[in-house]
């Protein structure tokens, strides 16, 4: 009885020979390059979008920080004014 390993090896060797001529279809390179260009275009667009939104994010954060500082200063200023008013009233009564 033939060795099953030999039979399998023979079959694989035969199929290897019979599939050695496999070729891509004629327009394969053209098709791939079209897909490559499309992917690159989408990727560039995406990078531009990310940059735009990140700049916007930085601008919004800066404005918020500035608004926060202004608010804090106004609150401090108000307290200062209230204290000055209180002292002024007290001095007026002394």
């Amino acid at each position: 009885m033939a060795n099953p390993n030999d039979i399998l090896s023979e079959q694989l060797a035969r199929l290897s020979v019979e599939t050695a001529d496999v070729r891509p279809t004629a327009n394969f390179t053209v098709r791939v390059m079209a897909a490559v260009e499309l992917q690159s275009a989408v990727r560039e667009d995406w990078s531009v979008q990310v940059l735009k939104w990140s700049k916007l994010g930085v601008a919004v954060a800066s404005l918020a920080a500035a608004a926060g500082v202004a608010l804090a200063w106004h609150s401090y200023d108000s307290v200062d004014q209230e204290e000055a008013l209180a002292y002024g009233v007290m001095e007026a009564f002394e």
């Binding site: 090896s9 694989l12 199929l15 599939t19 496999v22 070729r23 279809t25 390179t29 897909a35």
Partner: protein, 180 residues
């Protein structure tokens, strides 16, 4: 610097048309590999195209370190994609190659070649995806166990195990067929 590595270097620097050099040099071998793994040229071309797009992304993001050759690296990408696709196939119902797909392929590949691919697909259909890919890389593409280990991102021991199990499964299938 060899031509493909030079082209990869240029692509990484933003020279997109240089990618065509890689595609023209590697497609025949990669499509043949994909066809042997998946059983037909149509699926193989889709697979290899996806492999090229991943390779391009990696080059543009400077993720190709040049430790292996460009061709070996592409084989690795295609082999791993084939494993994923074979696993997905097992989860789906079988799809018969349509007449349209066969018509597109007739000019590039003879009927005998397509029949041989179909026979190979049927022979390997009982194997786990990793075993199938390893056996094709070894028995049909002529890669060493060390090269296959690098492509499939596993140890040489794992490759040997996959090959032994694949052959044992195919022998068993032949015995079962002989007895039925």
């Amino acid at each position: 610097m060899p031509a493909l590595e030079e082209a990869a270097h240029r692509v990484a620097k933003g020279d997109l048309p240089a990618f065509r050099i890689i595609v023209e040099a590697c497609s025949e071998r990669l499509v043949r590999l994909g066809a042997r793994m998946l059983g037909n040229v149509t699926d193989a071309e889709d697979l290899v195209q996806e492999g090229y797009l991943r390779a391009l992304r990696a080059l543009q993001e400077q993720k190709f370190d040049g430790r292996s050759s460009v061709e070996t690296w592409l084989h690795r990408i295609v082999a791993n994609l084939a494993v994923d696709q074979l696993r997905a196939r097992k989860r789906r119902a079988p799809v018969v190659e349509s007449n349209d797909e066969m018509l597109v392929d007739t000019r590039a590949n003879s009927a005998d070649t397509r029949l041989a691919l179909r026979e190979l697909d049927q022979l390997m259909s009982c194997l786990a995806a990793e075993q199938r890919v390893a056996l094709i890389l070894s028995a049909m593409e002529g890669f060493s166990n060390a090269e296959i280990a690098q492509m499939m991102d596993c140890t040489e021991g794992s490759v040997e195990q996959r090959l032994v199990r694949a052959r044992a499964t195919l022998r068993q299938k032949r015995n079962d067929y002989g007895q039925s």
